[in-house]
Amino acid sequence: MTLNEGPTRGLRRRRSVAALAAAALAAAAMMAGQLAGTSAQAADPTTLTVQADTQMTTFNPFLSYYDGELNILGAIYPTLTMLDDTGTPEKYLADSWTTSSDQLTWTFKIHPGLKWSDGEPLTAADAAWTFNLIMHNATAATSNGSLVANFKSVTAPDATTLVIKTKQPQANMLYLSVPVSGIPIVPEHIWKSHVSGLKNYRNMDFPVVGYGPFVLTGFKTNQFAEMTANKDFFLGAPHYDKVVTNYYSNSDAAAAALTSGELDQIGGLTPAQFNAMSSKSNVMTYQTQSSGWTAIEINPGAKTRTGKPLGTGNPILSDIRVRQAIALGVNRPELVKKVLDGNGIVGAGYLPPGYPQFFWKPSPSQSLDYDPARAKQLLDQAGYKMGSNGVRVAPDGKPLEFRLGIHSDDATDAAIAPYLKEWMTAIGIKLTVNAMSFDQLNNDLAKGDWDILMDGWSTGPDPTYLLSIQTCGTLPEDNGSNGNTDAFFCNKKYDRLYAQQQTQFDAQARAATIAKMQSILYAGNADLILFYKNGLDALRTDQVSDYLQGAKQSDGFYPLQHGFASWWKAQPAAGAASASEKASEQSSNAFKWIGLGVLVVLVIGGVVVLLRRRTAAERE
């Protein structure tokens, strides 16, 4: 006989029911709160919300290298010049400039009457201080050190005059201090006190004192950076009140955010995602020309500065005919078609199509297009006979087996590698693919312990640095240190032309010299440029307009975009938070309400069943 079961059981039953009811209410509240949250979040028309290109870890312009950080720095600090749609320098902080007759002295006239965001005057002294810091402080030279390598002195005789004296004539002076890819000018009165602790200073004292179309007002690690518009910007106020760049570690999450309206613009889509986004309503997908390339570099015989051989690179590759055969054996258009799904341009010249003034293509007679028959013929003639197992053998008996090093965390590298392996097998060369971490690959590269490596670079509008890494001057010393070479390429004529283009102030003459340099590189076959990957981006046409700068090119791609210009010039779309957006919002909300309803019904049903079970036991 149950003595004390009755009241206890009833109490327990009431407690279970109460618990279930509480759970149901919590779930309902959660979904309701979420619905309220998202609808409020998505439709703020005065804030531009975009995806950050990369993560952001510091806003110290002397140490930054992530694109996500550089884009922000370009918007919050001024530079001497900025680039227009065609990549030509125009005035920004500097109203005008002159050069002396010996071309060694530049005099910039700084725009008068400007003030930093904290009210202090913005003068030429700040610019001088910034350049001098980079010139004399090793830590400050981390990001942009080589840009000032040719500077002899930088002074500010008065508040609106900046005088830069160079050791040699420097043709690219106007590209050195430009937004995003160049040196930003920082306020001396703020940064003076941070010089001693520069290495650890992340510049996150909000609002960050600077000058530009925006002011940096907030940041959360691995989440977002927030900027407020500077309506007094002397070149024209931005249309948006705020810009928020959100970091998504996973592009699927970013794509979902664009679809739901949380984001106005995203970039860096994979081809599969690009195709999927193209079919969504209110979303415009577009491709932008590339500022860089993907290539394989072939060890042409790694040597030190004094000519001493370095590393374990296969000496067969120092035979230029083998490298040419490899170039002939790679089907670059097929790579663009299959790996990039057509979203790119076939590679050839060393400088990317994002800078049309420097973009070079080989002549038809010089061009090494895909021709495996010619490759085989070339190898046969050079004495590399086909062996019994399908691998060619050099005259001294060594097989043509090479290591291909790829970046282990790069999906594109992993996609390209099987193609290369198969094409090389077809012409009698065996490739062994080794996936390596970034560090390890660079390590092996510097020591010369490589045969073929995947390589990728991008450049700002001034190609000097990118061209420099192919000069003999960047070869390492005999002990293996102090090298900065890309592929151990060394050609005296190239070096002479490099020195020459640095001093050619006439843009066309300079472009012609650089074209000759690219021709030498192409013929040298140390870097086989596979393709220039287009930027795959998307934006919400119903939320933002005028984001895209420049006009569509004949190949259907837009010119290279810069975050700085897009954020400044973009404006909310007419009728943002319009009826159509509300409708699509409502339909997705409808599903959520349905889900909520189902949840409630289930919970109520569960409670009823429980109650009946308890009372059934009683009823027995």
Binding site: A255, P271, A272, N331, I406, A417, A435, S437
Partner: protein
């Protein structure tokens, strides 16, 4: 695992040799196959192994070749491609079948490494019960404290990505369970009188271990290894998915890693995401069920209830 109990009929006088294993093995196999789970597990195991071994017979290099792939890129199942295509235009079905080779190979090799390490240490620790044994057990206990995935990640980062480092990482992180089991079993076996007699008769340590203890511990190792293969296949898939494997080899983990990195989620490419996981599920289920069935069969034989 409960220590097998002795039944009096087991004790034979005079010379002790490990009893012949042949006749009981046959009966044992039948016992396993009589259980539905055992039967299913063995069938699955055989099917996958057969498929992996015979794959080169019906999959040509051109099916796996990216340059010769003619299918539409990342498309849903259609005529000629029952499971759709991957981003290079190859048939997902053929890729999944081919991927079983690498996944199984790594699973088996990692298990072999685990067994050698674990059983070796367990046997030694159980046999030499003095300082050596205690030291080994402390090392084992301490190793158990290391969480396996962070350790595997650390090892792979240091050893470099690839199948070898994954195999080593799995071996290094899985041996402790086997070591403990084998040690416990060794202790139990060594408590039996026939060991004492063999020792009295002048058997050396090595002879004791290899001829008396090892055969008695072998069934346990067998069970343990089938379960370890299951767990090793899961680990291989996870580590390759995290990018620690060789990105150019075709395995189930690398297929899923590829899918994830190339945006299959946004593209909704379910045909690329589901099959490798189902394959892993089935084979792991198979090995686990076989392991469980073998364990039941051993228990039923030794201590009938």
């Amino acid at each position: 695992m409960s220590a097998p109990e002795q039944s009096p009929a087991r004790e034979t006088p005079v010379v002790e040799k490990a009893p012949s294993r042949l006749v009981p093995v046959g009966r044992f196999v039948v016992t396993v196959l009589r259980m539905p789970s055992g039967l299913f597990g063995v069938l699955v195991m055989l099917a996958f192994v057969l498929m992996a071994v015979c794959a080169p017979l019906f999959i040509h290099p051109s099916d796996l070749s990216v340059t010769q792939a003619t299918g539409p890129l990342l498309s849903a199942p259609q005529h000629g491609y029952p499971l759709g295509t991957d981003p290079a235009g190859r048939s997902v079905l053929l890729l999944v079948i081919w991927g079983s080779r690498t996944s199984l190979a790594i699973g088996v090799m990692a298990t072999a490494l685990t067994m050698v390490l674990g059983a070796g240490i367990g046997l030694i620790a159980g046999h030499y019960q003095g300082r050596t044994g205690r030291l080994l057990m402390h090392v084992t206990d301490w190793f158990i404290a290391l969480p396996s995935l962070p350790l595997a990640i650390a090892l792979a980062a240091v050893l470099g990505q690839g199948a070898t480092s994954i195999t080593i990482a799995i071996g290094v992180t899985s041996w402790t369970g086997t070591a403990r089991l084998v040690r416990a079993q060794t202790l139990a076996v060594e408590a039996r009188p026939f060991i004492e007699r063999a020792r009295a008769l002048g058997a050396t340590d090595t002879q004791l271990i290899t001829r008396q203890v090892l055969p008695n511990v072998m069934p346990l190792i067998l069970v343990s290894s089938t379960l370890t293969v299951a767990s090793a296949i899961l680990s291989e898939a996870t580590l390759t998915f995290l990018g620690l494997g060789d990105p150019t080899s075709v395995s189930w983990g690398s297929l899923l890693n590829n899918a994830f990195m190339q945006g299959a989620v946004t593209a909704g490419a379910w045909w690329y995401l589901i099959p490798p996981g189902i394959a892993i599920l089935i084979i792991v289920l198979g090995f686990t069920l076989v392991g469980r069935a073998v364990e039941h069969a051993l228990n039923a034989r030794v201590s009938p209830r």
